[in-house]
């Protein structure tokens, strides 16, 4: 990391390091000005020189910035398009406008607190982030097999609900961006049902921090199963509605068929996964190929298409929602009463959480016990909560199939109570590379279709 460190009292005596020695004062993207508090750098992304080159001024090309403040770039993605009339001759993606420093922050919090961070990355599929992270931590702890069945089943339930929710947002935003305004509202309408269930279970509509290393934060709320069953009744009909509304619509087909073509070779070269890959006909789905959370015991298909275009991706997502409903129904069959956290008290949160008048917190029974009767329990609780669990040194890579593709967590521990490093292979980030391959040579309108068919979530791209 070459970033200038903060003023450290211990090094006050040593002369201030000369940051400008390796710094090019003529750098057009990082101007520097001296202040009483030291040099202030203004780093910008005004890379017009690169784009235009020497010849740009007199050619008939125009450089258009699509994003970061654009209605169709899924948040703050910036596309620098060089256009020739309406044809895109060069497309470049610029990211970083939603950088949150989550990966770095993870290193300063203990292992359990990590879930509250990772859930904020890909904000359309927080459950997948939590699950992948927790699977990684569990693997480091060597307790993968000890996670209770009920916890795994609920994880699958939550993830599949989330998958439908995420695909609904994709459908909705794609509809909005291609001008099918009604699809937008329909997608959001059904997503609301899912968010209601998630809120009922976790207390939050997004950023749940529900899945924890070793299990879950709490059990399903009473009445959840009925609500999920209700949802499973409604959803297939609604998916059929989208199918009826869009699949045979000639304008929809014209806008998506043969648009944003990326064949298997392209996907392999860029490392593209998820619906984009499955739309080339390759049935790569980690739930089947490298099962986790007991996915091998569920019956479902991996939908594929052979068109390798935006239309194929749309169909794959529709079918995946149907399959997810099937999986959800199976999880309901598999739900048996039981623990939702590993039995090891050195790992599990010391108290079962309970909903009090002031929200979710440690159960009062547990507080009474540690405060009144058991000094050892109090010390144990204190150590676990303030310091956190210790995870054996090592590194693991765990991947789950998120709605956007392979979501991988490379978790490194140095044996302490905090991660040494957590690196995320976010599918949005990897898939976004393929934008130029999909867009160049197409029209401006195709860029919109291409980006929305990749379905990047900038929160996941700019961790």
């Amino acid at each position: 990391m070459s970033e200038p460190a903060g003023e450290d009292p211990a090094s006050a005596a040593t002369p201030t390091p000369d940051y400008t020695s390796s710094y090019n004062p003529n750098d057009p993207y990082a101007s520097v000005r001296e202040t009483t508090e030291g040099p202030i750098y203004t780093v910008t992304g005004q890379d017009w020189g690169d784009v235009l080159g020497g010849e740009g001024v007199n050619t008939e090309r125009i450089v258009v910035n699509m994003g970061p403040q654009h209605p169709s770039t899924h948040g703050v993605l910036r596309l620098v398009l060089e256009i020739d009339g309406e044809t895109v001759s060069q497309a470049r993606t610029v990211i970083g406008y939603l950088h949150t420093g989550i990966e770095k922050n993870l290193e300063y919090r203990n292992w359990v607190q990590g879930t509250t961070f990772v859930t904020r990355m890909d904000y359309l599929s927080p459950m997948f982030n939590e699950t992948a992270y927790c699977l990684g931590v569990e693997k480091l702890l060597g307790i993968t097999e000890d996670v209770p069945v009920r916890a795994s089943v609920i994880r699958v339930l939550m993830m599949e609900l989330q998958r439908i929710g995420s695909h609904l947002v994709t459908l909705a935003t794609t509809g909005l961006e291609l001008g099918a305004l009604s699809m937008m509202l329909y997608g959001m309408r059904e997503r609301e049902l899912i968010l209601d269930i998630l809120e009922m279970v976790t207390g939050l509509r997004m950023n749940h921090a529900y899945i924890r290393p070793g299990g879950l934060a709490q059990d399903l709320a009473p009445g959840t199963e009925e609500k999920v069953r209700e949802f499973c009744e409604i959803m297939p009909k609604r998916i059929q509605e989208y199918d009826d509304l869009l699949s045979a619509n000639p304008i929809w087909e014209a806008r998506t068929r043969d648009v944003a073509y990326l064949d298997l070779t392209g996907c392999m070269a860029y490392g593209v996964t998820g619906p984009v890959l499955r739309a080339t006909g390759y049935p790569w789905d980690l739930r089947k190929t490298m099962p986790y959370c007991g996915y091998e015991s569920y019956e479902f298909e991996v939908p594929t298409q052979h068109s390798a275009d935006a239309y194929g991706r749309y169909l794959v997502r529709l079918d995946e929602m149907r399959e997810s409903v099937k999986i959800i129904e199976q999880t309901l069959e598999k739900l048996r009463p039981g623990p939702i956290m590993v039995a090891d008290k050195k790992i599990a949160w010391p108290a079962q959480l309970a909903l009090g008048a002031d929200g979710l917190g440690n159960s009062l029974g547990h507080i009474r016990e540690i405060m009144g009767s058991s000094m050892e329990a109090l010390i144990h609780h204190f150590k676990l909560v303030t310091e956190g669990i210790r995870v054996p040194a090592g590194q693991v890579y765990v991947a789950v199939e998120s709605p956007r593709g392979e979501l991988g967590y490379h978790v490194v521990s140095d044996g302490g109570t905090r991660p040494y490093r957590v690196h995320v292979r976010d599918p949005s980030f990897v898939n976004l590379q393929s934008v130029p391959a999909m867009c160049e040579g197409g029209l401006i309108a195709d860029v919109i279709a291409a980006v929305s068919s990749i379905d990047p979530v900038m929160g996941g791209v700019d961790r």
Partner: protein, 120 residues
């Protein structure tokens, strides 16, 4: 017959007064809080490439379309009076027009085949 156009002139004056009034009023009805960023060209939150008005080049790919449009517009100019007097011209008018449209159509088909109607 000049009188027939009179109401149009009156409507023109009324609409013009309304439009000019609105455009002028816009400067007075709203607040004025200067900010340099506001008057920048919209480029999705990024500083725009300098493209001074009038000197920027932009390829108008469909000038062929514009020329075709003129051809068809002239065809329409002929078609309208022909259609109005159709019953008087009778069979002769039909033959004339078929020949005329046929001629234009051949040119149109030629342009089509040569790719003049491609936009990508």
């Amino acid at each position: 017959m000049g009188h027939v156009y009179m109401p149009i002139l009156v409507l023109f004056v009324l609409a013009a007064a309304f439009a000019v009034g609105s455009v002028t009023a816009a400067g007075f009805t709203g607040p004025k809080r200067y900010n340099r960023a506001k008057v920048d060209a919209y480029e999705c939150g990024i500083e725009a490439t300098p493209q001074p008005v009038g000197t920027a080049h932009f390829p108008v790919k469909y000038y062929l379309t514009a020329m075709l449009f003129i051809v068809f517009d002239i065809e329409i100019i002929f078609l309208y009076p022909w259609a109005v007097t159709f019953s008087k011209l009778g069979f002769f008018g039909l033959v004339e027009m078929v020949l005329f449209i046929g001629t234009v159509f051949v040119a149109y088909a030629y342009v089509w085949r040569r790719g003049g109607l491609q936009w990508d």
